[in-house]
Amino acid sequence: MPRRDFQVLCKCWVSRGTVANAIDPCDRLLQLASSLRLRLILCFLKLQLAMMHANIHQLPPLLIPQSLDLSQLDLPSESSVFSSPLLLVLLITLGLHLFFASSANRFDQVLHEDKHSEALTALMAIFTPTRSSWPSDILDATRRASVSRLGRNSASSLGPTGSSSGFIKGEIRLGFCAVYEHILNGDLELQPTASVDLVKAILLERDGMEVDGWKIKVVVEWRWVWRVSFWVIKGLGSGLVNLSELWNGDIQVIPDPTAECMRFILTAADRPHTCWVWCLHAVIFL
């Protein structure tokens, strides 16, 4: 293999296969760790609440603040509180947990931001923003896709890059109405070679189109489906309404049969000897 081809192959391997497969197991581990951490939080919170509950029940009811005499209360002394080994362990654990939780949250946030930028990069295979920032609803959609932990194998359609990593990082779901409005307003532009991808993203609404491990779906809303269907039906029916324009006086249009029979009659008009058969057909239908 020539050296140049080998370098290109390595680049493709690094940029598509390795990175995609390296991030996703890491993501799964983090997911597992976060769920364990949450369970630990709940356990410690329950323990702490139980301890507080026990301490509160040891306290006598508080009277008027002016007449409060601390010496009458049976409060444990400060030294005895911190000398309790269980509470000390709890406090240390809580402190450590808070520290690691905040750092892990920061790490999660950084990871989500990275995934968000990846999702936007994948979306740029089809659309390009004409301004310095993306429209807010597109950002919301990509943010939802980056936060959602959709980790599953996929053997679906190939993306425009021609490669399928087999692991879906997220699913970017856009509405056709919003995309169309953004294009009309000039906020978004179709990539010069991406119109076929848009068609695939609309057509493969159930499976979506895969771009660098991200599934992009453009959903045509039901109101658009109704409008287009009504337009088609209207076009189909216009031939039955504008009968006067049909034949320009070439043949005699027989009045008042049903519309469907009228179509049969007009179709059969070039065979005058069969016209009476269709007239009879119209009478039977009526």
């Binding site: 169309y180 294009i183 009309l184 307003n185 000039g186 179709l190 119109s195 076929v196 848009l198 068609v199 695939k200 609309i202 057509l203 609404e205 045509v220 658009w224 489906v225 409008r227 287009v228 269907s229 337009w231 088609v232 209207k234 076009g235 189909l236 216009s238 031939g239 039955l240 504008n242 324009e245 049909l246 034949w247 320009n248 006086g249 070439d250 043949i251 005699q252 007009l266 008009a269 070039d270």
Partner: protein, 209 residues
């Protein structure tokens, strides 16, 4: 075939009679008509008028040639059809969108028309009482799938709409900036449908027997 005679989408929609009359005056070797702009119920009327136009053209050319009667009278009729193997509501919606989104919406002829129906309506010119003395009919000479060529024409149209400053300014003056963007989006979507194989473009060469 004269490429300038092609109907491009988004360009002005003239009526059938004036269109036929105007095009018949053109002394081109082969005329080109687009069925997409016509409502479905006027296709038979179109075939009839096309037959008359070609017949008069042949007779005039035979007179011009000294009455040998061998004048070549042929025309190309182009139209689009859905070519998906399974036509579902989603396919109809997707294929109808580039025609529906235009202002005013175009006719849904490409969604409703099929190759068999179009060839049948072209090859069976009805002879009514007024045309009973006319003999002959339209004959389909050839049917050609020109989807790739037409997609290329649409892509060139997009480039022209975007890159040609005079053409762009004329369109913006006529339909506004949103209308210009809408037109570009419709043409891009239509070209993508041909490229993706969801729609087919047919060129039918017809003559007079």
């Amino acid at each position: 075939m004269v490429s300038s005679c092609r109907h491009l989408p988004l360009i002005s929609h003239t009526s059938l009679n004036s269109d036929l009359t105007e095009r018949s005056r053109v002394s081109a070797p082969c005329l080109t008509y687009a069925l997409d702009l016509l409502p479905l119920h006027r296709h038979d009327q179109f075939a009839r008028q096309l037959y008359r136009a070609l017949r008069s053209r042949r007779s005039s050319s035979s007179d011009h040639n000294g009455g040998d009667g061998g004048g070549e009278a042929q025309a190309t009729v182009t139209f689009s059809t859905i070519s998906a193997p399974l036509v579902l509501l989603s396919t109809i919606t997707l294929c109808g969108l580039p025609f529906f989104l235009r202002t005013p919406p175009a006719e849904p002829t490409p969604v409703l028309l099929g190759l068999r129906r179009a060839v049948k309506s072209l090859s069976s010119v009805a002879v009514g009482p007024r045309t009973a003395r006319e003999e002959g009919r339209l004959v389909v000479v050839s049917v050609e799938d020109s989807s790739e060529t037409y997609a290329g024409v649409l892509v060139e149209t997009i480039k022209r709409m975007e890159g040609d400053a005079d053409f762009r300014q004329r369109l913006v003056d006529e339909v506004g900036v949103r209308g210009w963007r809408r037109g570009m989006f419709c043409v891009e979507l239509e070209a993508a449908l041909y490229k993706a194989g969801l729609m087919k473009r047919w060129e039918v060469l017809v003559g007079v027997s």
